[in-house]
């Protein structure tokens, strides 16, 4: 092994000993071992932001929960990826997201192919206990090929990151605070008028919900294709 290669660490995940490279995150290790940790903002090939808080795990001896997507595997770490408390928090997070905007699954282009929808299903959410906020958000259909529907946005910033980190255009960003935050193109120009957008469509493909979609797609027709991302990441790493 070359001296620069990261060392191997052993730690405990859900009571079992696992080994990992020291530069791996707990989430990556969990996936290697088929341990399901729900995620929304994390996407392989993009930087991690630890924003959705769905992948929080418990660490023995620490009162603080840590996001598995950011938490590095370290020697002697003892994590639990499931517990009654984590299940409860994860359910609440998804319920909060569903209450936040106007996610009308039945008439959404992404119905049946949506990360938020399947999260709700896999977490056993059959209704939302928090009152729906029903905010007023616009749809931007100014782009020739794509549509942005803020009503379906969960502010995961996958679009922002893929555009900045992979495409290199940084067309997307976030404006505003709190529940009034929204993703924007350029300096909040209509998407179709953005001069930096290359129309590559990467943002649309990484979007977990129906917030970004291809034009011409009707209800339930928008299937996202994300295989390009691990491919690009791998090619870049190999040629770095």
């Amino acid at each position: 092994m070359s001296p620069a290669a990261p060392g191997v660490v052993t730690f405990v995940m859900d009571g079992k000993d696992v080994s990992a490279r020291a530069d791996q995150t707990v989430l990556a290790v969990a996936r290697e071992h088929n341990v399901a940790i729900p995620t929304l903002c994390a996407l392989e090939g993009l930087s991690t932001v630890g924003a959705c808080r769905l992948c929080l795990v418990e660490i023995a001896g620490s009162p603080k929960l840590q996001p598995a997507c950011v938490l590095k595997a370290t020697e002697g770490l003892n994590v639990s990826t499931r517990s009654e408390r984590l299940d409860k928090y994860r359910k609440m997070i998804v319920e909060l997201l569903l209450s936040e905007r106007n996610h009308v699954c039945s008439v959404c282009v992404s119905n049946g192919h949506c990360d938020l929808q399947s999260l709700a299903q896999s977490l056993g959410i059959d209704h939302v206990r928090f009152p729906y906020l029903y905010p007023s958000f616009a749809v931007d259909a100014s782009h020739a090929r794509f549509t942005l529907d803020h009503n379906r946005c969960v502010l995961c910033t996958r679009c922002v990151r893929v555009c900045d980190e992979v495409e290199g255009a940084h067309t997307w960003d976030v404006m505003g605070r709190g529940i009034r935050s929204q993703v924007i193109t350029g300096l909040k120009q209509p998407w179709g008028e953005s001069e930096s957008c290359t129309t590559c469509g990467k943002c649309v493909q990484v979007c977990p919900t129906g917030a970004l979609s291809e034009k011409g797609k009707s209800v339930a027709e928008m299937r996202k294709r994300r295989d390009f991302l691990p491919y690009l990441t791998q090619m870049r790493e190999e040629h770095a």
Binding site: C105, S106, V107, Q117, G124, H127, Y132, Y134, F137
Partner: protein, 176 residues
């Protein structure tokens, strides 16, 4: 053994959930044997009776009539089921919420009217400020999401209820 007194109610929805209910084909006979259908848009009974065992509600709570009915149903029912996304999430009926009732009524009855544009103020119950899911007004015992929920899911829930079990969709239930 006495039959289970079953009611179904149609509020602000498209009746697709009732259609899906009927879509369970011959299995409906199995259910029919075990229930007295005491109130439903499918039968000709005008008033909601007392002492109902199970009431299945389709649709969001959208107007003052819905709200009155929801409270009355709750008071007279042992087990209240919210069937389908409109009852569970308010779904499509809630898409009007961000426009306000005045805007919605003007759009429907004034801007798009061909003859005699006016907002009706008789017979049709006044809209609530927002269409909202049933459980935001009265406690709901069982939620069956879906638009519509599949006939299989509905059958499974009703069969469970009739057998005195707590319905469990085993992760099959989904919004949309």
């Amino acid at each position: 053994m006495s039959k289970v007194r079953l009611a179904t109610v149609w509020m602000d929805g498209c009746s697709g959930c009732h259609m899906s209910f009927l879509d369970m084909d011959e299995r409906i006979l199995e259910i029919a044997d075990k229930v007295d259908l005491v109130y439903s848009p499918l039968v000709d009974i005008k008033t909601f009776p007392e002492s109902v065992d199970v009431t299945i509600v389709e649709g969001a709570v959208s107007n003052e009539d819905d709200l009155k009915k929801a409270k009355m149903i709750r008071a007279r029912t042992k087990i209240l089921v919210a069937l389908g996304d409109c009852a569970v999430t308010s779904n499509v009926p809630a898409m009007r919420n961000q426009f306000g009732t005045e805007g919605v009524l003007a759009r429907a009855y004034l801007e798009n009217a061909q003859i005699n544009p006016h907002v009706p103020n008789k017979v049709i119950p006044p809209l609530l400020p927002q269409a909202r899911p049933l459980h935001e007004f009265v406690p709901v015992d069982v939620f069956v999401p879906g638009c519509p929920p599949s006939a299989d899911d509905i059958f499974s829930v009703v069969a469970d209820l009739l057998a005195g079990r707590t319905p469990d969709l085993h992760g099959r239930g989904r919004f949309g």
